[in-house]
Symmetry: C2
Subunit: 457 residues, 2 copies
Amino acid sequence: MLDTQVKNELMTIVDTGRYLDRPEELACYAYDAFVVEALPDAVIFPETTQEVSDIVKIASRYKVPVTCRGAGTSVCGAPIPLRHGIVICFSKMDKIIDVNTRDRYIIVQPGVVNVDVQKALAPFGFFYPPDPGSMNTATIGGNMAMNAGGPRCLKYGVTIDYVLGMEVVLASGDIIRFGSKNIKDVTGYKLSSLFCGSEGTLGIITEAILKVRPLPETVKTLMVTFDDLDNTAKAVTDIIGSGIIPVAMELMDKLTLNTIEDVANLGLDREAQGSLLIEIDGVKEACEREMTLIIEKVKENGAIHVQEAKSEVERERLWTARRSAYGVFAKLAPDIVSEDVTVPVSKVPAMIRKIIEITEKYGLKVGVLAHAGDGNMHPMIPANKADKEEWQRVERAFDEIFQAAAALDGTLSGEHGIGLAKSDYLPLVMNKQTIDFMKKIKQAVDPDGILNPGKFV
Amino acid sequence: MLDTQVKNELMTIVDTGRYLDRPEELACYAYDAFVVEALPDAVIFPETTQEVSDIVKIASRYKVPVTCRGAGTSVCGAPIPLRHGIVICFSKMDKIIDVNTRDRYIIVQPGVVNVDVQKALAPFGFFYPPDPGSMNTATIGGNMAMNAGGPRCLKYGVTIDYVLGMEVVLASGDIIRFGSKNIKDVTGYKLSSLFCGSEGTLGIITEAILKVRPLPETVKTLMVTFDDLDNTAKAVTDIIGSGIIPVAMELMDKLTLNTIEDVANLGLDREAQGSLLIEIDGVKEACEREMTLIIEKVKENGAIHVQEAKSEVERERLWTARRSAYGVFAKLAPDIVSEDVTVPVSKVPAMIRKIIEITEKYGLKVGVLAHAGDGNMHPMIPANKADKEEWQRVERAFDEIFQAAAALDGTLSGEHGIGLAKSDYLPLVMNKQTIDFMKKIKQAVDPDGILNPGKFV
């Protein structure tokens, strides 16, 4: 519970309906899709940037932790108020302020859901490329805080590639604005990149100008299976090497395919060692030509089964298989850890074999999904957190998985972030001076450490 | 001249041939392509990151300014050692360390010339997209320090979009490394974006991992002229709105076309109010279809003259016209200021008219070039700096041009940077809190202010 004085001051900013502090209310803001929980002392729902600034000024004066929350879909614990204090929930700052497709931008508040941005743009024939798996619920503010990716980021890039400008409330309560409505802008430091991906530890994003793109005319989708994992990955680099960067190249391993098939009965090839779901887009003639080239490349790499979606229904069915993977694995046990170690593309097969070897050693089930075109891998381990012995095996397995990724020139996270899940592993991929440098930035920007304390920095 | 003690210490790191301090030698390092000059006290040529670190440790101990220099092609004064001290010249750190097109990266030292990166990648069928006008001489280190752009950045993005990882020597001499060989990486703060574009004020880039792309199969180029500037710009947004993002859409105004034609006699249309040089690339069938669409769009916008390059020779001729613009204008007077104000695309015609109106008011000649697809405009004013009265008019004109850009939601620089040229104008596009925030970052990272002092922060 917050000190009465703090509460009273906060309640001069928002009315009763926008301030929660009863335990049964707070419980809803204690978790995300990761496995750690922590209760906030209060949850507050600002409606304007000025209100956010006023809230933070009070928090700053009393040194109360402030953790921001979009839709809580993070899988690394980033929005968990580990040191309690105030959770600022952005559900009431969910306006789309401006849609300007002529100049290729959209201006949004942080609480806007990703899919609503897509809906606002579609009538103009435009879209916003980053498409995290959670895009139907996740907010743009959360996407920016985590620098979210998604399958089509292979061709189109991740969140930071689409942030043109931002308004940010600092730990002092000061409001800063940088970037602009201009596609190219090198005026001053690239501050948007500092806040985007900082997981709420440096400032609070209250508005953003995002770059948008024209929708492609045609989309084509292909499902391919292989009887060898190396060939699956080599097909990926061969396709890119031939000059084509597909929208997405999603890899699934044998266990993932079989587990999905057990549940969903989609007619997937149970004998395949690996599969690729490949999607391309563009003008019709280009897609046709590229699809021919891609089919050549996968056949050169020994593809067994090649299935092109002949209709939107078939395309949806192929994507349903891919999208259902997380849900199917999540049902296998009370808890699931979905990681996202990333390695250079050519090392994907080695990393998959390593993941399978490590999890077998610890007697765990694992499914491996990968955004294979950029080496971003999602090993999913279903387990029961209440079973302490099993959970210890899960933790040990991930220790070794992260070590293996680092040994293969990989990194800890491609798109999920560090949050609570992986801060201990930073030294695997960064020297002490680099970690100290991040702390120095944090210290300069948030000297009292009130912004999302307890996270990776 | 540096203090003898400092010089002696520096010369324990490099031998005589890599330390210059005779006035006639220093003179070569006093300028870039902007109009301000300042002599360094010494120029030093490190060969390794460790040497850079050792040099900076000495500079830090004696609080001697350190300014880095690639090829000196900056047009905003960024590498000018305004407060003298040491210039670190990277001409001896010019190695390409690794080319790995399978995993889509190249590792380079900062002194590598942009075009040499292209040459190293071409045999593998890959390229590095950022293509500043100076790419035949400018170094990758300078490109990164300035976050360089170029014509084809419309489709492919600017330098920061290609930096995967960096090694940086801090003001303390500490060496930090961040990012990785992975296309997607959200491990920790996006520090590469903080250094890229910081114009050498935050740290010294000593190595970089850059993302590369497969070369497109086909390139098609089109020159179009219009008798109306608004139609020229509307064609640009109509093309993008139709779903095509060309590689480049270069706009030239009437005076620019005529001045080039006076000198180069290329057969350009002297009556046109605006021209567009449009280039697309991709698979052959896509280019053909897109070219048909583009020609439709320019005709809908009243194009007078549409000329598609039928051969590589014709394509080169069209680009020669565009590329010769700066040189042609530079010959009109002893000095030239080439600016790069940027506005949202739909405001390009308004901004061009404003530029012409302002320069006419001050009795100056101006040619306007624009990377029109992203609103990045290069007004070029030839003048004589020695003529104080004329130069004052040039300065007043730019004052008004920057104000006009800001009033149109534009920004001070799309790709040239701030350097010495535009720091006074920052308040036009940033509030005080934002400028203070940049100073806070600078203060935290370089507390003694030894890195490129006197620049925008």
